[in-house]
Every structure is written in C-alpha cells, then in structure tokens.
C-alpha cells in the first residue's frame, strides 16, 4: 500500500508499480489533473494546501477500507500539494484486483472518499483574482463559490 502527500510531481508509473501483483488481472489508475477552466472561468494555476499527517492517515484508512470492500490486491493514493500548473497531476489513485469491473468501482469509490474527507484544499488562481474552493467539486453548482455567498 502506497500512501503519500508530497509537493513533488506525481507519477502514474510509480503507482502502477506499487500496486503490481501476480494475482491481479486488472489495474486501474486515476489521475486528477489541473484543467484550464472551472465553472466556465479560465484558471491560471492551482495552489493546494493540506494537513499532511492527517491527510495520510485518512488516505490510508480509505485504502484499507477499499481493500476489504473490493478485494484489492494493491492500492496507492498520492496527493500533491503546493502550486500546480495546468496539466499537472494533483491526485493519483491506483488499484489492482482480479477483474476489471471491481477495479473501476474501487477506484471511483476511493476518489470520491478522498474528495469527501481528506483534509486537502485548493485555491483557484485566475488572471484577476483567486479563491479557496470550499467543498468537493461533486457538489458542483449546488454550492456557490465563497465570493458569491452573503
């Protein structure tokens, strides 16, 4: 099990090696990547803050829960912090297990849990301003950005 919060670049290949197992027929690797727009606004870059020791604790708990729940052979969860440019990888979630369906289900479950409960925060920086995003993107437009709240 590979768990890490780091300010160094993340590698899909390292995660793939970390979950390799002769009993695994399926490996699924998810990369969360900084995109050039969010909610219709051009993004310059992102800055990630974290509570690293607690984040690693939560990531490990999620990985252990997923391993039991989906019968994983291997699991890696890596989160980057600091300034990230467009196209850089902020999150890597890799799993290995017997068959493909479980690998996809387990991977998505882990990514959702990471976004729900791991103490990491992102600040969006635009050409003309910046803002800490509060709450997971999955809430989408249900949650207005902090600047739009009363």
């Amino acid at each position: 099990m590979l768990i890490r919060v780091t300010d160094a670049p993340l590698s899909a290949e390292e995660a793939a090696w970390a979950v390799a197992s002769p009993a695994a027929g399926a490996v699924n690797i998810f990369l969360g990547v900084v995109r050039n727009t969010n909610r219709g606004r051009a993004v310059s870059h992102l800055v990630y803050d974290a509570y690293p020791s607690m984040a690693e604790k939560e990531m490990r708990a999620i990985a252990e829960e997923a391993t039991a729940r989906f019968g994983l052979e291997g699991c890696a969860v890596l989160h980057r912090t600091g300034r990230l440019e467009i196209g850089e990888t902020s999150l890597v979630v890799a799993v290995s297990c017997g068959h493909r369906r479980e690998s996809y289900e387990a991977g998505l479950w882990i990514v959702n849990e990471v976004k729900r409960r791991v103490p990491v925060w992102k600040k969006e920086v635009w050409e003309d301003g910046e803002e800490w995003i509060e709450g997971p993107e999955s809430l989408g437009m249900q949650q207005a950005p902090a600047s739009m709240r009363p």
Partner: protein
C-alpha cells in the same frame, strides 16, 4: 491549534498556541480563537474539527497538549 487554507490566510498564521482549561471542549477553544481573530467568524458554520488527527465533534473534550485543527470543507483531488 492548526489553521489551513482560507483560515490560515485570514488569520495570518497556520499555528497558534492556545491555553486549555480543565473540562473545555472543541467549541470552547474555537470560540476563544474566534474571539481573538474575528475574521474567522464567517467560516464557523461550515467548519469541521480534528483532534489529534481524527475528526472530532464540537463537544469533544480537549486535553492539554492536544492538537486541534480547524477543517474548512475539504476540496482536494
């Protein structure tokens, strides 16, 4: 007490030493910090808390020497 993200920016610090009285809870400590940094008050309704790196409720007791963290809604990934 640990502060992150928007809270750290608003308070101008990521770490505070806060005295803890006997029988005090997370809520008591938080209120003491918000009294000193009123710019944190708007964030309180959405805050969560971690005591020694575990999520904790507002009414959890805080022992002296504990690490309390204010956790705004997370947005990692």
């Amino acid at each position: 007490m640990l502060l992150f993200a928007s809270l750290a920016e608003r308070a101008g610090t990521r770490r505070l030493e806060v005295p803890v009285g006997e029988g005090e809870t997370v809520r008591d400590i938080r209120d003491r910090v918000v009294a000193r940094f009123p710019q944190l008050a708007p964030a309180v309704p959405t805050l969560m808390y971690a005591l020694n790196e575990e999520y904790a409720r507002e009414d959890a007791a805080v022992a002296a020497g504990s690490t309390l963290a204010l956790i705004p809604p997370v947005s990692g990934g």
